[in-house]
């Protein structure tokens, strides 16, 4: 029987406010699974037209899949969220692109006809699960020089990227970081950030219960002068600082995807349409350049040029990695298409959850910009990868 691929739409997405990892962070005593459960419940509440039993899959990404991020967290979160027991779920991992991969994998299932509606998201509690927790790299990586020794330390890969793109200086990176903080602060002040946020209960033995209502990581008012003297922990006299990189964060995201015809049948609003996606590998020691080949592959397959892309949500693991992408595509550092509401340098990057944050934000931007047809969400991935998803604005009214 011949198959016809179905169009997949992004209906809605939410996230918990992001927190700073560590004992002083807002989620220090809050479980990771509780975060993603809260996001899933709010997603369902915001879409009352969706009968819960119509959810065909719950895919939740986490980089570290043990403890409160273990127990195949997509399934355990579905049960904890009170979805019908008939709704299955699974855990998925592609490090920083975990949630992005949760989306592309389940969207593929929708296109294939195996699902009608899915929930995809991610969670990372980097306070409870520090980066690299429990890893055991095969000694062959180094013995056979499969990767450079710096490949497993993300900050070092960012320093390596400065070597590859010497024109990207620390000053440029810092300037980019300052703008990210400014753009986020402006977007927040304009009320553009909070619609995606799910107020989330937090508990501390010392302080009692509280409610996280806003992102904790942003440092509004950051100046170049503030950033200049920061230490470069990954290399002496290096370029990468805590100021021009995303921090260590806790948070969770969840979004609702559906076959376009099913969304129409159920009366679910389709904010954007998935056009295509691509993942690509690069040398692990320069993992930050990953978005370049992934995006090239994607644009070529879809016969598009970067000029036809109206909005770009690129994850800001490091300023240098964003700038490398912009250099490659000859986009100005200050191009308004790029992260108009700021990025991970300001808001934070709880690894596996970030992919869906990019999508939430792009879908909101699309709503404001009916003149834009195409947008990208893209991110670099540890172990040397990049992933890019191409989206089409369902409110597109034609170029103006």
């Amino acid at each position: 029987m011949p198959r016809i691929a179905r169009d997949v739409v992004f209906v809605d997405g939410v996230r918990t406010p992001f927190g700073k990892a560590g004992p002083k962070g807002v989620y220090a005593e809050t479980r990771a699974d509780d975060l993603v459960v809260r996001a899933i419940r709010e997603l369902m509440r915001r879409n009352p037209a969706l009968p819960p039993e119509r959810v065909d899959e719950v895919s939740v990404a986490a980089t570290t899949q043990s403890g409160d991020q273990g127990l195949t967290i997509g399934r355990s979160a579905a049960v904890l969220a009170g979805l019908p027991k008939s709704v299955p779920g699974f855990a998925i991992d592609r490090m920083c692109a975990g949630a992005m991969t949760a989306v592309t994998t389940t969207a593929s299932g929708i296109a294939f006809g195996a699902y009608d509606v899915v929930i995809a998201g991610g969670v990372e509690h980097m306070g409870r699960h520090p980066m690299g927790e429990g890893v055991d790299p095969n000694p062959r990586f180094l013995a056979e020089k499969l990767v450079d020794p710096s490949a497993l330390v993300m900050g070092m890969t960012a320093e390596n990227l400065h070597d590859r793109f010497p024109q990207i200086t620390k000053e440029r990176a810092d300037a980019y970081a300052v703008r990210s903080q400014e753009k986020y602060a402006a977007a927040r002040a304009a009320g553009r950030i909070s619609p995606d946020l799910v107020p989330t209960a937090v508990r501390s033995a010392e302080k009692g219960y509280g409610l996280a209502t806003a992102d904790e990581p942003p440092r509004p008012g950051t100046t170049l002068e503030d950033l200049a003297p920061l230490k470069t922990p990954f290399r002496v006299h290096g370029n990468v600082t805590a100021g021009n990189a995303a921090g260590l964060n806790d948070g969770a995201t969840a979004c609702l995807l559906a076959a376009e015809d099913v969304a129409a049948e159920l009366g679910l609003n389709a904010r954007m349409r998935l056009v295509d996606f691509a993942f690509a590998g690069v040398e692990p020691e320069v993992m930050g350049v990953g978005p370049v080949p992934a995006t090239e592959k994607l644009l070529a397959r879809n016969s598009l040029t970067m000029d036809e892309i109206g909005l770009i949500e690129i994850n800001e693991a490091f300023a240098v990695q964003v700038l490398a992408f912009l250099e490659h595509f000859k986009i100005a550092d200050t191009d308004p298409r790029v992260n108009p509401w700021g990025g991970a340098i300001a808001v934070g990057h709880p690894l596996a959850s970030s992919g869906v944050r990019l999508m939430n934000q792009l879908s909101r931007l699309f709503e404001e910009r009916p003149d834009v047809r195409y947008g990208l969400t893209t991110m670099c991935v540890g172990m040397g990868m990049g992933g890019t998803v191409l989206w089409e604005n369902t409110t597109y009214e034609g170029a103006k």
């Binding site: 009170g82 501390s204 033995a205 010392e206 009692g208 509280g210």
Partner: protein, 703 residues
């Protein structure tokens, strides 16, 4: 000086309540959704997990007062909210200090402190909210009632005002605020009916349906949704509509109905429910100040009552001694039980098979010599499992598992690999000895042989076995699934491993075990028979049945003597009386009237509508030396005191506490009597009959 200040100086100067587990009061600002402003969120948390719930002692209350000082001083708040720690809101007053209270003024300070602190929540310049996230009892419910609004989690397992169960009233605002919130009729269910019905508790959903909470949310994100709801209330998006409490005749009628029910149960035997009734009656028209002051008075009086002290003692027995039986051997000696045998297929055997299968989840084999009886016995157990399934008490899978666990066999060979065999055959020594001998021929040398005998000597039953050390008495109370007591009988030669196994099994069966010596009829039946025997003898002598049956009403026992006789079954009661008469002919008489009555085959003196059947009454008439109610009661309780003294001297149990525990759990004797010995002590009966008290002053009475 305010009560808060009085307590502050008391705690500074004296070592009062030194072992209070202090509930800490954390205050944290939260930004409410919808731009509703900032709320101060108060978390009650004693720093332990849910197995040690939050309670309110004076130190905790002072901490709450400090927090409210802090909150009241703020001008920037839109609301104040109170919630608990995970799974627990708060379970009421910390009563550990009560036994030490010796004067009424000190007692009154407890009530006043609670009022003075809690009422501030309802009198703040901004609205207050209680988010009842977990178990809430007593003062925990009351702190919520003082708030302007309440939400409750649908996952809350217990909402209750259990004070009357213990011998108190909900005296930190409960008797005033609750009826004014939900009306007298519903409030009395919570304040009186439930506590007097084995301390029944409400679930979160029931509390919501009664109107105790204004909104209910699921546990997964209860706090977030409660805060959102609070924001909606503050912004006017949600209006809380509560049905107006009916302050007309319905209020008085509800109080009158409850009074009638209490009177029917207690006949004045316990003061607390009556005080609660008076308070609820007065709450109809009393001002807040008047209502709270009346509660203070009631609390002070009740704290200074022997009934409360006995209630606290009894509660402690059921919570502690019942879980750690006195005299039980080290539990590490217990052997695992992986298969159970039940000899017999009658009603008792069927009940036992069901209980063992449900609780131990191991195969249970019933045996009988007759295929028809065996099939009937297994079918009974399977049928009961079907009933549990129909009621939703077990799932279909669980029902399938339980049914497959219970089987029948005509041959005792099926016991070969059993670790525990209990007999429930005809109550006759020779029959039981024969059955045990047959079982012993089949089972391994360490298999425990238990008997459910209620009156025969366990030692004699074991005497002809090769391994008498493996025999233990396992005396259940009918109905087996319901009554929590298990008398574990150590026979002359029972060894520690057998006894430890018996206790371990009893615990797995979720029974409260009490170790008793192998003495005729053990504890509960021996005392009830003595008690009943005195009443019957009075009838034999010419006391009218009605008079005799009413004679002990003021004790507030769960049922009158003749109702008890009917429940036990006149023939069974006669049999036990005869056994005890044989053992102790001087103290146990066999009523001639009872013998006639049993011969008549009647089930009891009461008709189904609880009127006395005239024909039955006729059988209990005659005699020419009638006693008054007072005389019958005196003679009955004196007999009980005498018997207890003898039992303690014989070493039937290790302490009076065990007697009380048995009477509470096996006979349902009430907390306000403390079981029985506190009552006998405080009325002077113990002193008069035995020359001394059973318990030291202060243990279960005012010091």
């Amino acid at each position: 000086m305010s009560t808060v200040e009085t307590w502050r100086s008391l705690l500074a100067s004296e070592d009062l309540n030194a072992d209070e587990v202090v509930t800490h009061v954390r205050v944290r600002d939260v930004e409410l959704p919808l731009g509703a402003g900032t709320a101060a969120l108060i978390t009650l948390d004693n720093g332990f997990d849910h197995t040690k719930p939050n309670t309110f002692g004076p130190r905790g209350l002072l901490k709450l007062n400090d927090a409210l000082d802090q909150v009241a001083a703020r001008g920037d708040l839109a609301a104040v909210a109170v919630t608990g720690k995970p799974f627990i809101f708060a379970v009421g007053a910390d009563l550990k200090g009560v036994p030490a209270i010796t004067d009424r003024e000190q007692a009154a300070l407890i009530g006043r402190l609670g009022h003075e602190v809690f009422r501030r929540l309802g009198e703040l310049p901004v609205p207050s909210f209680a988010f009842v996230n977990g178990a809430a009892m007593g003062g925990g419910v009351e702190i919520a009632l003082h708030c302007a609004y309440r939400t409750v989690s649908s996952g809350v397992p217990a909402v209750a005002l259990p004070e009357c169960f213990l011998g108190l009233v909900p005296g930190w605002g409960g008797t005033y605020l609750l009826p004014n919130l939900i009306g007298a009729e519903k409030a009395l269910k919570v304040i009186i009916d439930n506590p007097l019905a084995q301390n029944r508790m409400l679930k979160g959903a029931q509390a919501y349906e009664l109107g105790i909470a204004d909104a209910m949310f699921e546990p997964a994100d209860f706090l977030e949704e409660s805060l959102l709801w609070a924001a909606r209330v503050l912004t006017g998006e949600v209006t809380v509509d509560r049905p107006e409490a009916d302050r007309g005749a319905a209020w008085d009628q509800a109080v009158a109905n409850a009074r009638f029910a209490v009177e029917g149960k207690l006949h004045g035997g316990a003061p607390a429910p009556y005080r609660a009734l008076d308070l609820v009656a007065a709450a109809k028209s009393a001002s807040r100040d008047e209502g709270f002051a009346a509660e203070d008075d009631a609390l002070a009086d009740l704290i200074m009552s022997d009934e409360l002290r006995a209630g606290l003692y009894a509660f402690d027995l059921t919570q502690k001694r019942a879980k750690r039986p006195a005299g039980a051997p080290d539990k590490s000696l217990a052997r695992p039980v992986t298969k159970v045998g039940v000899v017999g297929a009658g009603l008792m055997a069927g009940q036992l098979a069901l209980l063992f299968a449900r609780r131990l989840e191991v195969p249970v084999v019933m045996t009988d010599l007759d295929q028809g009886r065996l099939d009937k016995g297994v079918a009974y157990a399977h049928g009961e499992i079907g009933k549990l399934l129909a009621k939703g008490r077990v799932s279909a899978d669980k029902a399938g598992r339980l049914k497959s666990l219970i089987s029948g066999s005509l041959s005792k060979e099926a016991f070969a690999d059993a670790d525990f065999v209990i007999e429930a055959v005809f109550e006759e020594m020779s029959v039981k000895q024969k059955v045990f001998a047959e079982v012993e021929a089949v089972v391994g040398p360490e298999c425990v042989l238990a008997t459910n005998t209620s009156s025969l000597s366990v030692s004699e039953m074991a005497s002809r076995l090769r391994h008498p050390e493996r025999v233990v008495g396992f005396h259940f109370f009918n109905p087996v699934a319901v009554l929590p007591l298990l008398e574990v009988v150590r026979a002359e030669r029972t060894d520690d491993a057998t006894l430890a196994t018996a206790f371990a099994v009893g615990k797995q069966l979720k029974k409260s075990c009490v170790l008793v010596r192998d003495a005729p009829a053990f504890v509960v039946n021996r005392l009830l028979t003595r008690f009943l025997g005195e009443v019957l003898t009075a009838v034999d002598e010419g006391t009218p049945l009605e008079v005799a049956d009413r004679s002990v009403a003021s004790l507030g026992l769960p049922m009158s003597p003749f109702l008890l006789l009917q429940l036990v079954g006149p023939a069974v009661a006669l049999h036990v009386a005869e056994t005890l008469h044989e053992a102790f002919p001087g103290r146990y008489q066999v009523s001639a009237r009872l013998r006639d009555f049993v011969a008549s085959g009647r089930p009891g003196v009461y008709a189904p509508d609880l009127s006395i059947d005239p024909a039955a009454a006729e059988l209990f008439s005659g005699g020419d030396r009638p006693s008054t109610e007072e005389e019958v009661r005196q003679r009955a309780v004196e007999a009980v005191a005498q018997e207890i003294r003898i039992m303690l001297d014989e070493g039937v149990v290790t302490a009076p506490e065990d007697i009380d525990l048995c009477m509470i759990l096996g006979a349902g004797w009430p907390f306000h009597l403390g079981g029985v010995t506190p009552y006998l002590d405080r009325t002077g009966v113990a002193e008069k009959v035995t020359g001394g008290r059973f318990l030291d002053p202060g243990v279960a009475s005012l010091p």
